[in-house]
């Protein structure tokens, strides 16, 4: 059981040793840990198998449904993990893996994470977290300040106030969005007369009391899928997440939004929140936040901004104007595990008004007693880890100007990559980068001309074939293991709103160079050419279109 033993045994003495005797310096686990600490990228390059193994093959190593009846030595198990798990994991920190919103982590976070895990605090209550509680409140205060820039008196009054909360730390953007809409829903139906409030009596009685026919959350058609999930969980129903059209720049169409709000009101449907997006997941665009805020004010509804990914841009004094109006939001979601370079599992929601969360406040006899500063009284989650410590440390070690450099570098890189794509005769930039995210596809010049000329069924056919090609390239590139871009589907106006499959690239990793980006395109071109030479359907269709002209 412990590596010092000759044979693994299950007896209480050896069990106690795993709680008291650390892995020796020569143990396999310590050695792996050391080599990973010395050079993470080298370690991952050496251990992650480049060519993708089919999932069905990988599953063979994870098919047993019986709990092991015999213990394993730590060393043997570690070898097993290397062979079966690490070797087939994803090199998320590789500078040529530019399809995710997760990228490289600063080195200092690895040992700090180990300290955080070893301390094993539980943030739900002071008794199990002590100094971690004011730390988390400070982290939330700093993020609140980044968004809302209230004065020092405001933070002195509210940041550590037992009865108030500037937001919550949570496992990620989805929980953050659910929390924001939960608060918005509860604040929309407060106690009144006989009605004791939606948090106590529920949605059915709330609508009856306030004489509404339904509830809505309104967001552009580019809203993150977590909002649909939130609408389902909160009892509103997915169909009550009302999508509004976007303009050519993937930003919500304000006139449509306004019309929708009026229409809902006239149908006696209560809009509990409008969600503005500050960095759409698919295209990285930012809604006109100031104008949405004004509409929300007119229609008396909560204004939530989903800045899970784009919120980090506020760190950049140069670019924070892109999110102008975010300070008017009632609540904002930001993920620290995206562009704040924190390990997976760090989301936040901030509320402008320290009283907002009162409608979701919870207490219990043995925990979260009234007047306590327990963070659990305002969080959707219960027991939680001390992840806030990692953000606290990064904010101090990197500092705001350091984050600004990282954000600015990402935007610069995206803009120069957009230029590079435009210079290629056989690629098409589909969406310009507003932040460090862009989309594009492979489309040789003669195919592009044909697609422009084609009409109706033939146009759709050629476009579908191109979509198939994009999918093929993306899959093949991922499987060959050198680089990774993601893909999504858009309906670009320049292509008559035809459903178009595109490559999607997020340039947050500071280690990604222009050379790497050039290689990504070169690899895609190569895969495409090979595919086109084997499968003549696109050529045949292009010829058919041209011959008709």
């Amino acid at each position: 059981m412990v590596s010092q033993d000759k044979t693994a045994k299950v007896d209480f003495e050896s069990l106690l040793r795993i709680f008291t005797v650390p892995e020796g310096p020569e143990s396999t686990l310590t050695q792996i840990e050391n080599s990973l600490s010395l050079n993470l990228n080298k370690f991952l390059k050496e251990h992650i198998v480049a060519e993708e193994k089919p999932l069905q093959e990988i599953e063979k190593d994870f098919k047993d449904s019986q709990l092991p009846e015999t213990p394993s030595f730590v060393s043997e198990h570690t070898e097993h993990l290397l062979d079966t798990l690490v070797s087939h994991s994803v090199h998320t920190s590789s500078p040529s893996f530019i399809g995710h919103m997760t990228s490289a982590l600063p080195y200092f976070l690895m040992p700090l994470s180990k300290i955080m895990i070893a301390l094993n605090q539980n943030l739900v209550k002071i008794e199990t977290s002590k100094a971690f509680t004011p730390l988390e409140r400070q982290v939330l205060g700093m993020l609140h300040n980044l968004i809302y820039t209230q004065n020092d008196d405001f933070y002195a009054q509210w940041m550590h106030s037992a009865q108030h909360s500037l937001g919550t730390f949570c496992s990620g953007g989805t929980i953050a969005n659910i929390t924001a809409l939960w608060v918005a829903r509860n604040n929309a139906f407060p106690a009144q007369g006989d009605f004791r409030g939606i948090e106590r009596q529920g949605l059915f009685k709330a609508l009856k009391h306030y004489n509404y026919e339904g509830v809505a959350v309104v967001v552009s058609e580019r809203g993150h899928y977590s909002l649909k999930k939130a609408a389902d969980v909160l009892g509103i129903g997915r169909e009550s997440l009302i999508p509004v059209k976007t303009d050519d720049n993937n930003k919500v169409c304000l006139s449509d939004l306004k019309a929708k709000l009026v229409e809902l009101e006239s149908n006696r449907i209560k809009t509990i929140a409008v969600v503005g997006i500050a960095g759409t997941t698919e295209t990285g665009n930012i809604d006109p936040l100031t104008e949405i805020a004004a509409l929300c004010k007119t229609h008396h509804c909560h204004f939530h901004v989903d800045a899970a990914w784009g919120g980090a841009t506020l760190m950049s004094n140069k670019h924070r104007h892109l999110l102008a109006g975010i300070e008017l939001a009632d609540s904002v979601t930001i993920d620290a595990h995206k562009q704040l370079y924190i390990p997976m599992g760090a989301g936040m929601v901030l509320f402008k008004d320290p009283h907002s969360m009162a409608s979701v406040e919870h207490h219990a006899a043995y925990i979260l007693r009234k007047g306590s500063k327990d963070l659990g009284s305002h969080s959707l989650e219960g027991s939680r880890s001390g992840m806030a410590m990692l953000l606290y440390s990064s904010m101090h070690i990197i500092s705001r100007p350091g984050y600004e450099l990282l954000i600015n570098a990402g935007l610069d890189k995206a803009r120069s990559f957009a230029q590079l794509i435009k210079q290629q005769a056989d690629f098409e930039l589909v969406t310009e980068p507003e932040l460090c995210l862009l989309t594009y596809r492979y489309i040789p010049q003669h195919v592009k001309s044909a697609l422009q000329k084609a009409q109706g069924k033939q146009k759709r056919k050629l476009n579908d074939l191109l979509n198939g090609l994009t999918q093929f390239i993306q899959k093949h590139q991922r499987e060959s293991g050198l680089s990774f871009v993601s893909r999504t589907t858009l309906t670009p106006k320049q292509w008559d709103n035809l459903t178009t499959t595109v490559f999607r690239v997020v340039l947050a990793n500071p280690l990604t160079t222009d050379t790497i980006l050039g290689n990504v395109l070169a690899e895609q071109r190569e895969i495409a050419k090979a595919a086109l030479s084997l499968n003549k359907q696109i050529d045949v269709t292009v010829t058919a279109i041209e011959s008709k002209m």
Copy 2:
């Protein structure tokens, strides 16, 4: 910014270094990490300040609301963390800290956690997690098997099935309970005729369509507070979490439960779930699960078991009979960060029927495509870390029989501690340990006699004074830093259901010895005696009662 520099600077070159150059072997951070790896308890004992500093004092170190404008050296910041955070954190793994459900961690989990963090996988989709996805599915399968013991064919068919799910891994028991009740709610109001299902049309239309007046979740009065939160979030309302009385052993009273279900039905209120508790948070008791299952069958409602803490007992072949009937549950919550000895942030919910979660399934264009094995299509959370790896490793290294030894040792220790308490003339065991949790209080013999004799107002007065004493002892003991027990309030029958403050002890830490437990009592006695000699109110009240007799 990196420790090798003479002064901390913010330039892109030094920023790149924090992503590429690890902390040197001589760096403060590496040294701290090493000393923690060598002997965690020694490290914590040396660094956590024993005597408690008032929270207001600690807050002074966390009062700045401005993001730092200048970077810190890693070494300096690490010193700062030691002084301000680690020194005032809670020594959760100390064998004399027996008030939590979190205890010591096996040593091998510290380096494994670092590997998990460094890999930084995102379990929401295969693209960012690959082998971690089948690993998590296997972990869920093994836990499913532990509860439901289906045959091999069952797991071969469902464990890795793209369209199905045996459960989800999540950040903790609260999210697990919310997920279970979300599924129960959605399955209670499926699509029918014109109605497109509650997940699409929401609770208001669901109740109208099915012609119900309300919705209920029924649980004993010992239910965890997360269920109230779940009722609020899900739009049911906290008042629709219907509490049922418990018997003298803190188990749900079956006749009351039955009557409640009949009453709700006759009022056209749909009971979407009954929750059985397998290990109440306050007393550690287990509801009669088999009988609850039968009632749920009769009343056609979902049977959820909250075994967040007690579920680990299933690892013990000797004691798993205590949870008999759990295999009849439609869903079960288990926390791995409680008695499975995994770091904070590891909860699970398991579903008996692999089809159960279909009603909460979510898809999106760029992620969670239909037919994919992405775990995110069935989880309340979105992006999630690879925590399942730590449970996977523990299950292999400790193995089922190893866990059994740990569980059995906890139960034995609780029983022997109960005996020890009963042997003390000045302590009273308030609840017997059914699992490894018990409650008791300090009450000298003459006070006990007086309390037994007293009536009415005088009885309540003396009881209140005793509650004050229990609170004082608990607080003082915690502040002096040698040991920690928690406290809660119960209404024991032997004391005419008077609200009684008690010490609460959880004996999960394998390093807790009988000597330590003896010392905990001795320390409490000492604090109590000092308190009683300074504050004569209890003596005066006792004298008044005795003189009346």
